[in-house]
């Protein structure tokens, strides 16, 4: 099996998004997506921080070929990140196909992903191989089934660095063991508005889980979007880790729903006003910053969930979170834009998308 014969043009992707933004799946009013990634390294090679240029190139070749041979899906594309420009790398980060670290890395490295963008395989990130599966809604178990299967196929072709004591050996000891990070992206505007979000964080942290922003480690929270993921990777099996996250999510989602109900009960007019104003802003504004749009989309998304606004599809809103990011706007325009130009084009793009409805 080969990678797709025709080289993919990144600009072909710019006007749509991966399947994980469809707004389908369990609890998708609050749970945007479920994601699992596995960190793997090839035995008998140094980790990347100690690998020289030649070893890095060799690793990239080996892992790329083995991904090809493993017949993971029929439509995998491979992109060598060293051969594309920074805006295109930013674009892939915004789509969650590669990490920020991978985009900003050096030397031979790449990513393979299919048309649905459900599976992505990062080559020479912090570890030799990082496998990722993202699904729409609260679907961690299904994501695990998919990624376990991909991992099994690859394992037939590659000998992973593994020890019976420490499990899958990773460059950073925070990932050793299962090498697994499972995370769920949540939209929690009402808990934010009612200042209950801190309580959620404290409860979650007690379970050994961490809360992060939209783009993972070290990123700011914006658009009321939070990622909850496991911190420990050693000493518990993959299904056990998933079980812990799965047990806490329904409690958070029902807490968010309670907060929404309370907002409606106590101050329906104010809430409706806020939501309609945000919607109005999106429809008429001529310049919108990336920070502002996250806030506006978040409000409107909650409005759609509460049935206050019923003319926009959830999929459209979910997509707008991604399609209005700087890398996407620049790809859509086909040129580099400074921040003011982006604000103008962002506003125009959103107006156009909302007029189509």
């Amino acid at each position: 099996m080969n990678f797709q014969a025709t080289p993919m043009k990144i600009s072909d992707l710019a006007d749509n998004t991966g399947e994980w933004l469809r707004g389908t799946g369990a609890e998708s009013d609050i749970v945007i997506s479920s994601r699992i990634r596995l960190a793997r390294n090839v035995a008998r090679f140094p980790f990347l921080s100690r690998a020289n240029v030649k070893q890095k190139r060799e690793l990239e070749g080996i892992v790329r070929n083995k991904i090809k041979e493993a017949e993971i899906t029929s439509d995998l594309h491979y992109i060598n990140l060293a051969n594309i420009d920074p805006v295109e790398r930013l674009f892939l980060v915004e789509r969650h196909l590669i990490s920020r670290e991978h985009a900003g890395g050096e030397g031979e490295r790449g990513v393979a992903f299919g048309k649905s963008e459900t599976i992505s395989l990062m080559v020479n990130e912090e570890d030799h191989l990082r496998i990722q599966v993202i699904r729409s809604g609260f679907e961690l178990k299904e994501a695990w089934k998919t990624i376990d299967d991909v991992d099994n196929k690859l394992e037939k072709k590659l000998t992973y660095a593994y020890s019976s004591r420490f499990g899958y050996l990773t460059a950073c000891p925070t990932n050793v063991g299962t090498g697994m990070r499972a995370s769920v992206m949540l939209h929690l505007p009402a808990l934010g508005m009612t200042h209950h979000i801190e309580k959620v964080f404290n409860a979650v942290m007690k379970l050994g889980l961490v809360v992060r922003g939209l783009y993972g480690e070290g990123t700011q929270v914006s658009g009321d979007l939070y990622q909850i993921s496991n911190q420990f990777t050693l000493g518990k099996s993959e299904p056990e880790i998933i079980e812990i996250i799965e047990s806490v999510i329904p409690r958070i989602t029902s807490y968010e729903r309670m907060a929404r109900k309370a907002l409606i009960a106590e101050s329906r007019e104010q809430l409706e006003d806020r939501i309609w104003r945000s919607y109005g802003m999106l429809k008429v504004a001529r310049m919108i910053s990336s920070e502002e749009i996250m806030h506006l989309l978040s409000q409107v998304r909650m409005g759609v969930n509460l049935g206050i606004i019923n003319t926009i599809e959830m999929k459209t809103l979910n997509e707008l979170f991604i399609l209005t990011l700087p890398g996407h706007l620049q790809k859509l325009e086909g040129r580099e834009l400074d921040s003011q130009q982006r604000n103008i084009i962002r506003a125009a793009y959103v107006r156009k998308r909302l007029e189509e409805i």
């Binding site: 140094p46 593994y162 499990g167 990773t170 063991g177 000493g235 993959e238």
Partner: protein, 165 residues
């Protein structure tokens, strides 16, 4: 202000020395200060500073600090300062230092998750090797050199592509 030492030139260097709880200030000209500097300061390297710091904070690390991985060349100190290991072998080489770290990070030091099917094969191979080595010892004891040679060849054959762990 004049230099305390030569009492001639203008004092441009101001040193604060803390001994125990008493603070002592000294005001010197550049020349006199340099004289003191050469006495005092053989400027320590960053590694030396780090080592002395670590010795104060965590004495057990000082024992580990001399260890360098023969495979990738990473020292334990380098690992502790940037948090990244250099090769899979480091988990064995730095084991003593890693175990308490892993305990702190994960609350455990034993993997219980997925086992690659290949690792299963490796385990079988390891056991088989152990058995062959035992047989080899017995054969040598019995001076059955023909059998010993045969066993030796099989051991070489098997261990040729054995996985490190």
């Amino acid at each position: 202000m004049k230099c305390e030492s030569c009492n001639k030139k203008h004092a441009t260097v101001h040193l604060t020395e803390i001994v125990g709880t008493t603070k002592k200030e000294r005001h010197l000209c550049e020349e006199c200060a340099q004289g003191i500097n050469t006495q005092l300061a053989k400027v320590p390297s960053p590694t030396e500073i780090l080592t002395s710091l670590i010795n104060q904070v965590a004495p057990e690390i000082s024992e580990m600090s001399k260890i360098v991985c023969p495979v990738c060349g990473l020292s334990y100190l380098e690992f502790r300062s940037n948090g990244r290991l250099g090769c899979p072998m480091d988990y064995t080489i730095f084991r003593k230092g890693l175990i308490p770290l892993l305990e702190k990070m994960h609350g455990s030091t034993q993997h219980v998750g997925k086992v690659p099917s290949k690792a299963g094969k490796e385990l079988i191979k390891k056991n088989e090797l152990m058995q062959l080595r035992n047989e080899l010892n017995k054969a040598v004891e019995k001076e059955d050199y023909e059998k010993a040679a045969e066993l030796r060849d099989r051991i070489y054959e098997l261990s040729g592509d054995t996985n490190e762990d």
